[in-house]
Amino acid sequence: MIRFEEVSVTYEGAAEPTVQGVDFEVPEGELVLLVGPSGVGKSTVLGAVSGLVPHFTGGTLRGRVTVAGRDTRTHKPRELADVVGTVGQDPLAHFVTDTVEDELAYGMESLGLAPEVMRRRVEETLDLLGLADLRDRPIATLSGGQRQRVAIGSVLTPHPRVLVLDEPTSALDPAAAEEVLAVLQRLVHDLGTTVLLAEHRLERVIQYADRVVLLPAPGAAPLFGDPAEVMAVSPVYPPVVDLGRLAGWTPLPLTVRDARRRAADLRKRLTHPAAGGRAAGAARVGAAAAPRERGQATPPPPGTSVPVPSPRRRLFRRTAAATPDPTAPPQIAEVRALAVCRARITALRHVDLTVAPGETVALMGRNGAGKSTLLGSLVGLVEPTAGIVRVGGAVPHRTPPRDLVRRVGLVPQEPRDLLYADTVAAECTAADRDAGAEPGTCRALVSELLPGITDDTHPRDLSEGQRLALALAVVLAARPPLLLLDEPTRGLDYAAKARLVTVLRALATEGHAIVLATHDVELAAEIAHRVVLLAEGEVIADGPTAEIVVSSPSFAPQVTKILAPQQWLTVTEVREALG
């Protein structure tokens, strides 16, 4: 269906080809996953299928790409529109019309299908993607998962035989991601659609893949094969594969179910050297619990980590507030009975949260549950409608920005928003000046986080992970005791994520309190001491990571699922326990 013959792509001004030696064929009706670290040219390969590379992006494509028998050299993207459907990384950049139904029809209108056919297919697609209730809704009012489904639906209606998706689940919460993937699987199974998708979060998608194309390094020839075989040599792999490699299972399990079947032995090994294993696990849990014990005012007594009805919770909070524990150390951040209404929509209602020094808190919940709003109110971007927010004793939205940066720093979802300058060096100088820090502070941080970045690099030329690190350094230049991160792992590969985890752990040990809003359960399991679950603007659970994620099927990391009922969160823990 899709055929790459000795393809190499060189963009204008680039000395080396971005990808070369790409030579594989995707058979009809298969779901093929394109994996590899950041910056190896995954998007370029995807673009070559729809003809956007090189017709739209420029550059030189050598070799030949054929889709359903059409050569992309002679067919422009618009002439491939009836066989290839493409959904890019940002669904918002994809929409042409304003309402869901019109958006679904747009592609068919361009192709000139008969009105009756269009009508029928719109209805079918609305049902197929579970969008029937949203048909009249303006796209601007949809949540992330809904937008992604509309974007997929909008390219499905012309009935393309090939679907190309670039990171379809990166911005989605675990439940929405599963929804989208279930749709893709149905397309493959029931309709024989060929799907080619690139994704960083392999733990979500690897189980659905029929084949995997691995781009191991920039400019290296891709590897094409069976998922388990490719995963055995891949530099990027999900936790289940990591655990499989650790335990020496062959062939490697790709799903939690396969891994569970083989894990009996491993579970025994983990319980048997009870002293070593449990102690290591306990040590970690102990470390996680320690800051919480110090900050005793932190609400949840052991029983409250499960969903609490809010009236009782309110009562509890009242009494707690009325009798402050004199021995409690000062909290870095305190949020009491916070409510935020924006544009007649209640984003947060009656939220209580306290953060102690050295503590790492993960905010989790659906897209649109109010995570970003809560972070925004902690940093003074959002004015509370009711309730109290205090960060380091100051009220964030009334504190001048210059003072506030020394109390709290936020790395926004799009780190690029923080960067204005033309070079890394200028960015660092500006950051030192803004923060009133010693000249060179920020540059030292950058060197620590991003070894090998030269002063004259333009921030735009950095990869996603490098840009995040630069933004982090800029924020850290003011040494804020409270650090907030909004979706830090979006678009990061496993290596960049591991580096981020190391950095954040070191910061927490130094006494920084960290609050991160994330959909990435593996990241939360890796570094968070405490997890706070939000739903519809309310806190529905607040407690130690182990307790919260283990009890929830959608928020449990893979290792937990595999080794249940034992409570392990990450492969690192297991590795340490095994010695």
Binding site: L52, A81, V83, S110, A132, D434
Partner: protein, 414 residues
Amino acid sequence: MSSGGSRRDPAGECPAAGPWGRVAQFPAPLGSCSSVGRKAAPAPRKRGRATPAPGRHQHRAPLHPGAWWLWSLGLGTAATRTTNPLLLALLIAAAGYVVATHRSAAPWARSYAAFVKLAAAVLLIRLAFTVVLGSPIPGTHTLLTLPEVPLPHWAQGIRLGGEVTAEALLFSGYNGLKLAALLICVGAAGALASPARLLKSLPGALYEAGVAVVVALTFAPHLIADVQRLRAARRLRGRPDRGVRGLLQVGLPVLEGALERSVALAAAMDARGYGRTADVPARVRRTTTALTLGGLLGVCAGTYGLLTAEGGTYGLPVMCAGVAAALAGLRLGGRRTPRTRYRPEPWGAHAWLVAGSGAAVAALLALASVRDPGALNPGVVPLTAPALPLWPAAAVLLALLPAFVVPKAPKEPS
């Protein structure tokens, strides 16, 4: 291109043609599946309209957007015919009432509030100018006297400060209100039917240009959102987020972001078949060009003829022929675009009523302004209270017709 072209033929689009033929026989669809949609799906229904599911989903667009635009244009025209504040207030109230009852919960419906604010600003600015710069209206009722700034002789005829009379204020107030009413009418049209919906009624040959215009129009709201986001980000850097300097510094990143988004959108549109052309015979292509060019030339010549004294005889016929030729060219040009329209908005009895009520208001007020100019343009010298002329007021009330005859849009969940 060959298989792309074959899709034009509706008959070639039989349900069993592609790998997608069996869509309708799916196992239970995901999530909120509706049995209704599935039942309706297999059989193409009469006249391409689904039977609405009982109590589940009403027809989405109750009225042709063009009807709303004609209605509000009629109201706007009526507003230009009068300066009677009572009639204008009645007109604004009527438009406001219809908007309040019939606008949707969509984001673009909120633009009405922006237009109302703009109208108020226009009125206030008009009054402020009168106060500061004076007015040629001779008045005897002095309300207050501002200190007059002596101006050099080359600025003769311009006055700064001085006497402010009740007559002058009233006169500019009337005129300002007229402008405000006009703006509110445009705002009402935007709130009742988004301009993007009007696009669907454009002829095929113009559609793609129309899409480009609408996409360009949505650029502005995105730009504003970007500015807000980046100014917030400045706060995160510890810089003040207000003031002109703050705005200037985010300028470049905002433009960069907007440009990147536009490029991404263009790529997405290209990949979705925007700008596909059908193969048409060279003869048709040449005829189209000849008709369009000839038509435009005819329009130019006709206009010239109409405007000059000696061309009175041939002006009108040449103009008409030119317009006809241009329209024929446009229609023939539509053959080059294979686009079809999804659920074109029907122009039904309600649409006639709505557009008709707007036109009636405009016509009746135009008539009244000829028959009874005194009542529609109350004098300010000498100072008198404006009276409400009875039958023009009744005519304005016709504008309320849509509020009662048009079925309300189903309430959308927010």
